[in-house]
Symmetry: C2
Subunit: 274 residues, 2 copies
């Protein structure tokens, strides 16, 4: 059975050569997957893959297309929060039976979908992650997942509902019209290219907004820029500190991050499957 | 009449030589001002001017001292959110009749004080701003203000209640136990050393949290790092975009920022005085 996967970019554009590599891998190894890169992926409008209207239209076109099984986000970067509200408001029946997969800035869309109970939001590698060392395997995991083949999910998943976010993305969602209810959820967070003082500040913010969560798991905090002074504690110390201060359970590490190992985490209730 | 001003650092430490310069200026030009730099200002504990307990104790000692008229924040940086909740909880009667002055990360304390109705929070230069080009004048403005001499405040103040914040600091306060009610307020924001995409993201967040505000004024957005692509619009475009999207009035520019021109903005209801 064919799985039809449409790729759009709600934030930054995807480079054509990366799309080509993803497509070549899919053709060679996943004949049952049909990938369609929406032309919007390759547009450039300042920071964004096309202006707000264009990105919104591409997302709605694919989400509302009954012939599309999954919407896969091509790139993160930044820009999803500009269109996420209008996107979920414009989604019709066909949008409700789809999987939506991505992470980082695209987590804004996943969060908004999850809030509205539309489709199946899934944290996992972007098409553009093909560029990374080991990126082929990241793409393979996604294609296995989307085409219903056995695939390793995040190892720490249990019976509790789960959501996974980039830390900054979650912090910006918190308290907004796009923020899902994460009561009783295990919330996984990861970060890239932020100073540890910024990670600390973001943890202050999210722990204040996650009262009632089952707990927090910390993914990788990578590419931390060097500051003019050492912060004095590690990312895990920071997570423990704020969890303790806000009476949220710190539940250990999660296998997510801005790298090719970035695990697949379906939002909501899961059981670990292989 | 003597004005007794205590300087503490809720975030980063202050360099001794900068304190010495501020003190020398005060002695030479403001004989009626008595400055006391709390020894905590010069401590170093990783990123911070002493650990949380030490910074909290210094802030409470000065705030609760009936012989202190004003608490002036020596430095921003980062760290105030770790102690602000305990600080306002530990403030007693003597804390209520004081002025608290600073900005940037110290805005976290100002916000928490304003929320609790404790004392007079005032956005304005830090003691450490003496280091800037024109920093002497920034320090003079503060010493004039704190000692009750005529001084120019932010030119745009009118009869509406006002608050002024660093954009990131306000974004992190939003929705937390430290966030003041800014309904009907003119809210001024400034930013430094953030990419324009980050400014855009922060505006998404704060406009969602400032529903009911009278409007937003934009201070300076300075030292924007160069990105791998131009953002495509200016900081003022960003402010207008999000204000329009969230039906908050955009009220033009404000004379605040991470520079020596950074205007004094008393929180609450003001009239422009000279």
């Amino acid at each position: 059975m064919t799985t039809r996967i449409a790729i759009v970019c709600p934030g930054k554009p995807l480079r054509q050569e990366r799309a080509d590599k993803v497509l070549a891998l899919a053709v060679a190894e996943f004949p049952q997957a049909e990938l369609a890169f929406h032309p919007q992926c390759f547009l450039e409008s300042g920071h964004f893959a096309g202006d707000d209207e264009t990105r919104l239209a591409a997302l709605l076109e694919t989400a509302n297309d009954p012939d599309v099984d999954a919407v896969w986000f091509g790139m993160g970067g930044y820009g999803a929060c500009r269109i996420a509200g209008d996107a979920v408001a414009g989604m019709r029946e066909a949008a409700r039976s789809k999987t939506y997969l991505g992470y980082s800035d695209a987590g804004t869309i996943l969060g908004a979908l999850y809030r509205e109970g539309i489709g199946k939001p899934v944290h996992g590698p972007l098409a553009g992650d093909i560029k990374r060392e080991g990126g082929d395997d990241a793409v393979r995991r996604v294609l296995r997942y989307l085409s219903g083949k056995p695939v390793e999910l995040e190892a720490g998943l249990d019976d509790r509902p789960t959501a996974a976010f980039n830390l900054m993305t979650l912090a910006m969602l918190a308290g907004t019209d796009l923020m899902p209810d994460l009561t009783d959820h295990v919330v996984m967070v990861e970060e890239v290219a932020e100073h540890l003082y910024a990670v600390d500040r973001l943890f202050f913010h999210i722990t204040q907004h996650l009262k009632g969560a089952a707990g927090i798991r910390l993914g990788r905090v990578s590419a931390v820029p060097e500051n003019d002074r050492p912060f004095g504690s590690t990312a895990e110390d920071i997570a423990r500190y704020w969890c303790e201060k806000s009476a949220i359970r710190y539940l250990g590490r999660a296998d997510i991050g801005h790298d090719s190992q970035n695990a697949i985490v379906p939002f909501g209730t899961n059981r670990k499957t292989t």
